[in-house]
Subunit: 359 residues, 2 copies
């Protein structure tokens, strides 16, 4: 049996959608359990009764009376709300009672709790969120999508290994194609960080990494890579710009369609094409984005996760536990020798950082 | 009269679209001239004859037999092709024969030529490309969109002034709203660079900059700001991701519409809505993106610039010359005291950079 902790209060439709998603997951995955629902006992119970799962002995309720609000800073939330649903859900993993945690709440708080409580895996210095994007031929991961905003090249090299392992063991891609997000395809392109990272990834290619070179924001949707590497600042910008520009254009298209009856009628006839398009951008199928690199499985859901998305996220969490991705990650990081080969660089970086602090 | 140099060989449809665009500009702007067309004399002459402008005495042909190919590295192009059309067009500005230069060719080569030959304006350390995006209420500038990929906070502060002046004098926005691209709206959000830049921009607010705070990739399209600041790496990613994701979704929509006759018929009825949508994304109205911060006006066009785009770019160049944006920029940079107030910081940065070099 695989025990998973769920932050029942996280997300725009909590605890309703969370509880319903947990119910769906229990129905389809017989080896899940216990599922710890962490949140306001009364509210969660009411939802459990609604879906007829109140007496399911694979569910355990854990009361929490604090919720991290979306407007709070992660640091303040962790400091001031040790009894929040997300903190307590992560605690269950730390204590070994759960093998994974899922939250659709405050991403920053989920990341901060997981990093602080579970700690990074040995050999990994910074965690990364791997977000799934649709591509012309399937999907690809962008990491980091916002967990680690200031990175050096070796951190991106570590992200490469995390993405590789996640693709192999959870998404079932045998030899994931790893690309570096850059401003040109040529090897000499980029800023200081990407140029340095390119060199590191080249070295890792000789140790078996399927590094396919630079990719640009225009071509990453073409389906030529499975993992796109960037620091968390850039990854977050990628995520939000893609969302922003699609929303912008779809908003205008709606507006223009409304302008006269002929357009409205035409769009009505073609409505299933729009429906199909919407399905591509639908997050629910992917379930959630894993926070990789910490000592434990943490899956982060979209704030608006529907019950289906929650159930799929739990499926992903279960798979990550079952496949022991942490173990594979450790072995692969060791094999890649990102850290040992770069001890000198790390010392130089520390010196540089102390320079920066004094600047 | 305002003399402008045109790289007649730059762009996917050169010299045809360039020559045609120049013809259009001459027809509508009587104070333009001479317009120096730099390129293969024979090819350019043929195009001029085609549009009936071969004998126009406001056009001067300057022969160049080298073209920078899109695949060349900017550095190599500048080194190996001193007689390229872009290099010679920039030379005309350097020599004072032209007041501005326009190129729709290799962006990197145009930037490198302009920076090397025209030099940055005093008080400005790095140039920036200001690219125009459509927004829900009009348009906004993103700078830098790719000229300067490694930036410190004071460079972004200088970009703020460049964007402000360009909006005021060329786009006619009285008090441009300047925003910082970040991963959250809160003042404490961001990476090292954006946090430091936020502080600098706050200070500049007290000297009259209309700094409106952080903006995210999702909300920048809402029309709440006129200028979005970021380093050239991030700006380039923003540009390409927005393009990539819109292309991705429009490609899928087309595919889904083709799936059956009902959808095709519906889309046919609603076709004008799609046409209107296409018009928003149309670059030609804006003409081109200015390279700001160098001692001279340089406008960079999209590789696929149509004649209309070329004519509009020349109109923008003319306006920038007429309004003497360089003078205003100098005065404003001086007023903002970004550099003088930060002499100490620059010294520290230089120390830090020397640390980095040794790392």
């Amino acid at each position: 049996m695989i025990p998973i902790a769920v932050d029942a209060m996280g997300g725009d439709f909590a605890p309703g959608n969370l509880v319903e998603g947990v119910g769906k997951a229990l129905d389809t995955l017989p080896d899940l359990g216990p599922l710890f629902l962490v949140g306001d006992k009364e509210k969660v119970s009411r939802e459990l009764r609604r879906i007829g799962k109140f007496d399911d002995d694979r569910i355990q309720l854990i009361h929490s009376d604090q919720v991290v609000e979306m407007t709070e800073s992660p640091a303040a939330a962790i400091r001031n709300k040790p009894g929040s649903s997300i903190a307590m859900a992560v605690d269950l993993v730390k204590q070994g009672r759960a093998r994974a945690v899922f939250s659709a709440g405050h991403t920053g708080a989920a990341v901060a709790s997981s990093v602080l409580k579970l700690r990074p895996l040995p050999g990994i210095e910074k965690p990364a969120i791997a977000t799934i994007f649709p591509s012309a031929t399937g999907r690809f991961l962008v990491l980091d999508a916002g967990a680690s905003v200031d990175c050096r090249s070796r951190h991106l090299a570590q992200f490469a290994v995390m993405g590789e392992i996640y693709c192999q063991y959870v998404l079932g891609i045998e030899s994931p194609r790893i690309a570096l997000l850059n401003i040109g395809e040529e090897t000499t392109k980029g800023n200081g960080l990407t140029k340095e990272t390119y060199q590191l990834l080249e070295k890792m290619r000789s140790r078996g990494l399927n590094f396919v070179g630079n990719v640009q924001g225009t071509s990453m949707f073409d389906g030529n890579c499975d993992v796109v590497l960037c620091d968390g600042f850039v990854g977050n910008v990628v995520l939000k710009c893609s969302e922003g520009s699609s929303q912008f254009f779809s908003g205008y298209l709606k507006k223009y369609i409304q302008q006269n009856w002929l357009r409205r009628f035409g769009a009505f006839l073609a409505r299933n094409a729009f429906k199909d398009l919407k399905a591509i951008a639908d997050h629910s199928e992917y379930g959630g984005a894993p926070l990789l690199g910490v000592n434990g499985i943490c899956i982060i859901g979209h704030g608006s996760s529907c019950p289906n998305a929650v159930a799929n996220a739990l499926k992903v969490a279960r798979r990550a536990v079952e496949e022991e991705i942490g173990e594979h990650l450790l072995a692969r990081i060791d094999h890649m020798r990102i850290n040992s080969a770069d001890k000198k660089r790390q010392t130089a970086d520390r010196e540089k950082e102390s320079c920066e602090d004094s600047a």
